[in-house]
């Protein structure tokens, strides 16, 4: 039971940190509300655009590259899902896993080269 308790307590700590992490901004902002002045005016509440009146919708359409980077990130970040367990258990797995992982990563590298050659990695 001790091990289980240890395990659960460790995660209880994480919960504590989470609670504290949320509480701090909330409390600080709540206290701040008591201290700071509050005199809103139309000018204060406009969107900042270097002093001129804002024009157009600010939610403009982005360059598609942002999304492509997001997709690349998803792919390579998920790769680590396999790399981490492999790295941890590497001593037990040995050469077979190494070769497998090599093949796997080479495949992903081809993906990277693909993105590279297709000029996806170029910013703007």
């Amino acid at each position: 039971m001790n091990l289980l308790n240890l395990y659960q307590n460790n995660y209880l700590i994480v919960v504590v940190f989470l609670a504290l992490g949320v509480l701090l901004p909330v409390v600080a902002l709540a206290i701040g509300r008591l201290l700071r002045p509050h005199k809103p005016s139309a000018a204060k509440q406009t969107t900042y655009e270097s002093g001129i009146d804002p024009f157009h919708d600010s939610r403009v359409q982005f360059n598609v590259r942002y999304y492509i980077f997001a997709l690349l990130f998803v792919i390579f970040d998920v790769e680590t899902v396999f790399l981490y367990p492999w790295a941890v258990a590497y001593e037990k797995l040995g050469i077979f896993a190494l070769i497998e992982m090599l093949i796997f990563v080479v495949m992903l590298l081809i993906g990277l080269i693909y993105a590279w050659k297709k000029k996806v990695l170029k910013w703007i």
């Binding site: 040995g94 077979f96 081809i110 080269i113 050659k117």
Partner: protein, 509 residues
Amino acid sequence: MDLDTLLSFEWGAMAPEFIILGVITLLTLLDLFMPKDIDRRILGWIGFAGILAAIVFVVLSYFDEGGVTSILFETYRLDSFAKGFKLLLLAGSALVMLMAVSYEPKEGLKEYRGEFYYLLLAGTLGTMFMASSGDLITLFVGLELLSLSSYVLAGLRKKNLKSNEAAMKYVINGGIATAITLFGMSYVYGLTGTTNLLEMQQVLMQTRAGDMQFLLMMAFVMMFVGLSFKLATAPFHMWAPDVYQGSPTPVTAFLAVVSKTAGFVIIARLFITLFLMTPAAEGQNSMLFSLKDMIAILAVVSMVVGNAVALRQRNVKRMLAYSGIAHAGYLLVAISSINLLFLFETMWFYLAAYLLMNIGALAVLQVLTSKDDSEDLSQFAGLYRRSPVLAVLMSIFLLSLAGIPGTAGFIGKLGIFVGAITEPSKAYVLASVLIATTVISYFYYFGIMTQMFFRPAASQEKITVPVGIWITVILCALGTIALGIMPGLALDFYNGNLDVLKDFFAPGR
């Protein structure tokens, strides 16, 4: 695991997969590094050659006397079932590849042409893994490799709105289906504690009736529903017409034939291995048998919906999509009747026939529609005048799809029909629906023929048929007729070389 274990595996069993994988890699790199001005069609031919090489290795494996080869701790099984269906999958992909080489949409494929070929191969690789996986995880990975490749393939015409929409719909429907299937799989895993199919079978056999029945039943239904999306059987067919219509025609052929075949492969593998010998509630001794009525209802709905809605279509691709739904329904009849004496054989034969006739029909369609980007029925008007040979070949495919004797389609249907009627509980109703809906299907198949032969052509322009299409169409037509007149060719080959029934349940080698 050390090097010795590694080398002790019979890697030769995986030769076809390795070839395809190698060709995919090669094509990707070639496509990336080849100068821009070289025509990418050459890549298609390389891919075609690769598939042929893989076919050779699959056929060579038929002469292996060793029975079942299983490597990688039973996750990869090369049994007769895998050998038999891999041949179909590869043959289908080869024909689709030929279609793809000749594919030229209105706005051109531009730099995507290379991608076309290796994505097709990637999808094929997925189906091959599905055919010979002995483990839930590899099964699933194969399924997803196929699915993901086909999503992209469906949307390959990036500038074409229809293609975009088709891909989007496919992704959404496919994603939902995957999730449902997986949810079912997770229960099966949970109840057995393993993902190895044969081990699961052993564990499930020992479950007492009533014991966890409910969860298992739920898993069964969920997996079946999820995979039904893949098969495009009603009522899970909504995506199929849209996706077939929007996709480039070779991709339509791939989805309609190779992907569907793979769907049936996975269903056969999964459900017959897992649930045939699992005791069911209420004293029945097989869960598959106890739930076969559900499959039968799906089959009936598919046959009726597919054929009835196809009647109303003017777009030929959609019509073929609905006809595909109906054909999936016919195949479900085979599965729901679970007549082990006939099941694998008839399924195999039917899928072979379906492969030939459907790819053939779509290849002809591709030639006719690429020019105007319209798939309206009227595109077929007066085909007999414009190109008699094409018209006659197309009618062979249509007759086969309609199941007229003398064509492979008839023998396939007959096999299913015989299987359904000879099984112990006699699915007369099911068989009758099969036959009745077949007659309904005459209306639309002959509708196309009416256009081709009876109607005047809109334009007298000569039709230029690319060489790839010629090869595809002629091979398909020859195959359709040969299998229709001498079905023994295929059936004897199948029965002589493969013993699916024995291999399927044999644990290990």
